[in-house]
Amino acid sequence: MSILYVLIPLALVVLGIAVWAFFWAVGNGQFDDLDTPATRILLDDDTRPADDPEE
C-alpha cells in the first residue's frame, strides 16, 4: 500500500494543474457566456449562398 504515498501526492499535483488551467480559462473569458454554447450546436454555420441560393 506504500505506493499510495506516491500516487496521492501525484493526484494532488494533477489536481493543482487542473485548478490552474480552469482559473486561466475563466480569466480568459471562456466561461463568461454559459448560455449560447448550448444552442450553438443547433445552428449551421456552413450554409453559404453559393451552395444553396434558395436557403
Binding site: M1, I8, L12, V26, D32, D33, L34, T36, L43
Partner: protein
C-alpha cells in the same frame, strides 16, 4: 401572402403591403424598405434559419436605423485608438450591441462578422450584450463593422476599452472559481473519507490514517479559506451590523469543524470531519451561484439608457467642425445639434432657439421652449432648429446618468421582504446557538468524548438555510421569469403585495392609453375637397416633421410628396403639394381659422390645414386606448380584482375612456394628493391595491400603493417609484405579473412548510446523538437543494398567460 400583418422582420404592424421578401420560398410582408433590406441581407448570406430559431420578437426590435453615414467617422485612425486595443494590424474592440434578445441574434452577428474579410474573431455574450471582435485594421475599419451591425438591425455602440469588463462578468468569474475549487475539493476529500471509513471497519495502519487525514487537510484548506470566504465575510458583517444572518451559524459550523479536524489531524484526535466541511461548502456555493445567475439575467438598464444617446457628435472649435465620438466630449466643448437629433450631454444653450422633447426625463409630452442660457439635458431631443450647446457634464455625470445609477443601485439593494425573512432567520440563529450550548453542556457532563461531535451535528442539521433560502430563492426565480416575460422587478417584496392584491387602479394617459397622439376626427371646412384627401395632404406636409403632434400624421399613408416645406417655430409649417401652397398649424397660423377655434371649444389639441386665405380642414388629435386595454381589464375582472381609473385629465376625456372600457369607478381632475387620498380611503377599507401609472403626477401614488407597475416609457420618477417596470407596448404584463406573483407565494409557502418540518424533525434526533456530522451535512444540503429546486419550477411558470402577452 401571409394573413399576419406584422412585419416578418421587426414585428411592427405592416401598413403598406408594398414590401415583401421571399424567404423559404414564401413571400413575407415587411413594414419598410429598411426591414426589406435587412431580411434580404440575412437571406442572401444564407442565414434564413435565424428567423426559425429566434424567439418571438418585441415589435420594433431589429428595425434598422436609417442613417448609416454616421459610422464612417469610426473608420478614422484616432477612433481606432480610442475604442480598440490595437497592434500594427490586429485590433480588438468591444461593442455593446443594443436590440439583441436571444441566442439566434448572437449567432447571426457572429456568423455575419466571421464571414467578413479582415475579421479574425467575433464573440457575442447575449447576457451582457457585448461583442468582442478581433480584426485586421488595415483591411476593415471599425466604422465598417459598426455599419454592418447597424445594417443587420442592431444598435451598436463602441465601448472604451476600460469599460469592457462588466461587474457581472467579474462576479461570475469569481463565483465560478470558488465553485470549482469547492467541487474538486469535495470530490477529492470524499475519496479519502471513503478510505478512512473503510479503515474504521477493516483496520488501517496508523501511519496511513495520519497520511490520509493530512492530505484531506491540504485539500480542505483552500476550500475553507477560498471558496467559503464570502460566508465568513458576510457573517462578520452580520455581527457588526447586529443582524446576524444565516451565514453566522454556517461560518461557525465550518470554522468549528475545520478547527477540530485540524487539531485531530496533528494530535491524533478521534475523528476528522473534512468531508462534511467540503460538502457543506460545496452545496452552499452551488446555491449562491444559482442565485447570482438569476440576478444577472435582468436587463442591463444603465447601458440601455445610454444607448438612447447618439454615438457621434459635431464639435465646433476654432479650427472648424469635426465629428467626434460622443464619449470623447469633455466639459467646455461646444457642439452643434441639428434639428431632430438627440442631445448627447447636459449643457447650456449658447446659440439658437428651439424646442426640445424632454419626455424621457420628465414625462412631459409637450415640447419645452429653449433660448440661449437655458439648460438642455442629455437624452432629450432637439426638435426645431439647429443650435450650439456648451457641454457642462457628460456620461455618468449627466441627469440621465444619475437616474441610471439610481436604478442600478435599486437593483442591487436587497428587498425589504427578504430582509424580514433574514431577521426571522437571525432569531432562529440565536435560538440554535443557545440550544447548541445546552447540548454541549449536557453531553459534556454525561459523555464528554461525544460532546463535540453531537454539538456539531446540531449546528449543521438545524442550519436554517432552507428556511432562509425559501423566500429569496423563490423571489429570485420569479424575478428572472418575469424578466423573460418582459417585466423588470425593482423591488422584490412587491411580489408578495401583488399576490394579495384585491384592486387595480389605473392612470389614464400613457397607461390605459398609448400616450401617443392619433387623429380621432377630420372635419373638412371647405366644400370642394374630401376629408380623406385633406388628411393625406396634411400627412405629406408633416412627414418630415419631428414635432410631437406630427407623429399622429405619420401613421397616415399618403400618395403626395411635399415640396418647399418650411418650419415656423412654435406656429406650424408651410409647404407645397401638387404645386399648391398650404399652411398647417395652430388656429393663429392659418388665416380665418380663429372663428372655428371657439366653436370647437374642447381642449383636445387641434391642427388646422389651410391655404393662404382660408382654412380647409381641422384635425382633432387625441390619445387612443392601448390595443389590449379592454382584453386586459376583462381578464383582471375574471380574476376577481376590482378596477378603477384615476386621472389628472379633464372630466370629459376621462368619462369618455371609462365608458369605452366599461370602467364604472373613475375619478377625473385628480391632483397627486387627490389620488393619494382616494388610495388611502381604499386601503383603510382593507383593500390591497396595485397602482399602474406612468406620469410624474403618479409618482406619489405609485410609492403609496401596496404595489406599483409602470410602463417602460414612463417618466423616470415614476419608474423609480414603481416596483415593477413592464417593457413593451402592452398592458397584458399586468395580468402576467399578478398570476406569477400568486404562484410565487404558493411556492414560498411550500418551501417554508418543508423547511420548518425538516428542522423540527431533525433537531431532536441530532440532540439525542443519532445523527453523525456527515449525515447532518447531507440532510441540511438536501433540504436546501429541495427548496431551490422547488423555486426553480417558477422558471417555467406563466406560459399560459402568453395568450395576452405574446
Amino acid at each position: 401572402m401571409n394573413d399576419d400583418t406584422a412585419c416578418f422582420h421587426c414585428a411592427l404592424p405592416v401598413i403598406d403591403q408594398r414590401y415583401t421578401v421571399d424567404i423559404d420560398g414564401e413571400p413575407r410582408a415587411v413594414c419598410c424598405p429598411g426591414c426589406k433590406a435587412v431580411a434580404e441581407l440575412i437571406r442572401d448570406s444564407g442565414m434564413s434559419r435565424y428567423y426559425a430559431l429566434r424567439e418571438a420578437p418585441e415589435p420594433g426590435v431589429g428595425k434598422p436605423e436609417e442613417d448609416a453615414g454616421e459610422w464612417e467617422v469610426f473608420n478614422r485612425r484616432d477612433m481606432l485608438d480610442a475604442f480598440a486595443a490595437s497592434d500594427a494590424d490586429r485590433a480588438e474592440a468591444t461593442i455593446y450591441v443594443g436590440g439583441m434578445y436571444c441566442a439566434a441574434c448572437s449567432w447571426l452577428i457572429e456568423t455575419t462578422l466571421k464571414g467578413t474579410a479582415g475579421v479574425a474573431e467575433a464573440d457575442v455574450n447575449p447576457v451582457t450584450h457585448r461583442l468582442r471582435v478581433v480584426f485586421d485594421s488595415t483591411v476593415i475599419g471599425l466604422g465598417t463593422l459598426l455599419a454592418t451591425l447597424s445594417q443587420l438591425g442592431y444598435y451598436p455602440q463602441p465601448l472604451a476599452p476600460d469599460s469592457t469588463a462588466a461587474p457581472e462578468v467579474q462576479e461570475q468569474r469569481a463565483a465560478l472559481k470558488r465553485l470549482l475549487v469547492a467541487s474538486l475539493g469535495m470530490m477529492q476529500v470524499m475519496m479519502f473519507a471513503v478510505a478512512l471509513y473503510a479503515g474504521e471497519f477493516q483496520g488501517i495502519s496508523a501511519d496511513m490514517e495520519r497520511f490520509l487525514r493530512l492530505v484531506s487537510f491540504f485539500v480542505t484548506t483552500p476550500v475553507v479559506f477560498y471558496s467559503a470566504r464570502p460566508f465568513f465575510a458576510s457573517a462578520v458583517r452580520g455581527i457588526r451590523t447586529r443582524h446576524p444572518g444565516m451565514d453566522l451559524p454556517v461560518s461557525i459550523a465550518i470554522g468549528a469543524a475545520y478547527t477540530a479536524s485540524v487539531w485531530s489531524t496533528f494530535y491524533d484526535g478521534p475523528a476528522v470531519w473534512f468531508d462534511s466541511v467540503t460538502m457543506f461548502v460545496f452545496f452552499l456555493t452551488v446555491g449562491r451561484f444559482l442565485e447570482m445567475r438569476a440576478r444577472h439575467r435582468s436587463i442591463d438598464r444603465s447601458v440601455a439608457l445610454s444607448s438612447i444617446l447618439p454615438n457621434t457628435v459635431i464639435r465646433v472649435d476654432d479650427a472648424g467642425e469635426t465629428t467626434v465620438a460622443a464619449n470623447q466630449l469633455v466639459a467646455g466643448d461646444v457642439i452643434r445639434i441639428r434639428a431632430g437629433e438627440p442631445i448627447p450631454a447636459d449643457g447650456e444653450l449658447v446659440d439658437g432657439t428651439t424646442s426640445v422633447d424632454e419626455a424621457l426625463l420628465s414625462g412631459e409630452s409637450r415640447p419645452q421652449a429653449k433660448a440661449p442660457g437655458d439648460t438642455v439635458f442629455a437624452g432629450s431631443v432637439n426638435l426645431d432648429q439647429q443650435v450650439l450647446v456648451r457641454v457642462q457634464s457628460t456620461g455618468v455625470d449627466t441627469t440621465l446618468g444619475t437616474i441610471g445609477r439610481l436604478s442600478e443601485r435599486a437593483r442591487y439593494a436587497r428587498p425589504a421582504f427578504v430582509r424580514l425573512a433574514d431577521r426571522v432567520a437571525s432569531y432562529i440563529v440565536v435560538a440554535i446557538l443557545v440550544i447548541a450550548a445546552f447540548v454541549a453542556a449536557a453531553w459534556g457532563y454525561y459523555m464528554p468524548e461525544r460532546a463535540f461531535e453531537v454539538t456539531l451535528s446540531v449546528l449543521v442539521v438545524t442550519c436554517p438555510c432552507a428556511l432562509a433560502l425559501a423566500t429569496p430563492a423563490a423571489f429570485a426565480a420569479a424575478g428572472s421569469r418575469m424578466a423573460e416575460l418582459r417585466l423588470l422587478v425593482t423591488n422584490g417584496d412587491a411580489v408578495e403585495s401583488i399576490s394579495r392584491a384585491t384592486h387595480v387602479a389605473f392612470d389614464k394617459t400613457g397607461t390605459l392609453t398609448r400616450g401617443e397622439p392619433v387623429i380621432v376626427e377630420t372635419r373638412p371646412l371647405a366644400e370642394d375637397q374630401s376629408a380623406a384627401d385633406l388628411l393625406e395632404i396634411a400627412a405629406a406636409l408633416e412627414s418630415a416633421s419631428t414635432h410631437p403632434l406630427a407623429r399622429a400624421f405619420h401613421a397616415v399613408d399618403t400618395p403626395y410628396r411635399p415640396e418647399q416645406v418650411e418650419t415656423h417655430v412654435g406656429a406650424g409649417l408651410t409647404g407645397s403639394v401638387n404645386g399648391k401652397r398650404y399652411r398647417l398649424g395652430s388656429a393663429d397660423f392659418v388665416p380665418g381659422a380663429g372663428r372655428y377655434a371657439a366653436e370647437l371649444a374642447d381642449d383636445r389639441p387641434t391642427i388646422y390645414l389651410g391655404d393662404d386665405d382660408r382654412p380647409l380642414a381641422v384635425f382633432v388629435v387625441d390619445d387612443a386606448p392601448r390595443e389590449d386595454a379592454a382584453a386586459t381589464l376583462d381578464t383582471l375582472r375574471r380574476m376577481g380584482l376590482g378596477i378603477s381609473l384615476m386621472s389628472g385629465d379633464r372630466e370629459a376625456a376621462v368619462s369618455r375612456l371609462a365608458g369605452e372600457l366599461g370602467i364604472g369607478d373613475y375619478a377625473a381632475e385628480c391632483t397627486p394628493q387627490g389620488k393619494l387620498d382616494r388610495l388611502a380611503a381604499r386601503q383603510q377599507a382593507g383593500e390591497v391595491i396595485i397602482m399602474v401609472g406612468d406620469g410624474i403626477n403618479d409618482a406619489p401614488v405609485l410609492a403609496g400603493a401596496d404595489a406599483s407597475i409602470a410602463p417602460a416609457h414612463s417618466a423616470l420618477l415614476a419608474q423609480t417609484s414603481a416596483d415593477v417596470i413592464m417593457l413593451g407596448d402592452r398592458l397584458g404584463p399586468v395580468v402576467t405579473a399578478i398570476e406569477l406573483s400568486r404562484k410565487t407565494l404558493r411556492i414560498v409557502r411550500q418551501n417554508l412548510a418543508w423547511a420548518i418540518l425538516y428542522n423540527a424533525s431533525a433537531l431532536p434526533l441530532a440532540i439525542a446523538g443519532y445523527v453523525p456530522p456527515w449525515l447532518a451535512a447531507i440532510g441540511m444540503s438536501a433540504s436546501s437543494l429541495i427548496v431551490v429546486l422547488n423555486a426553480l419550477r417558477l422558471s417555467r411558470a406563466g406560459n399560459d398567460s402568453r395568450v395576452i402577452t405574446a
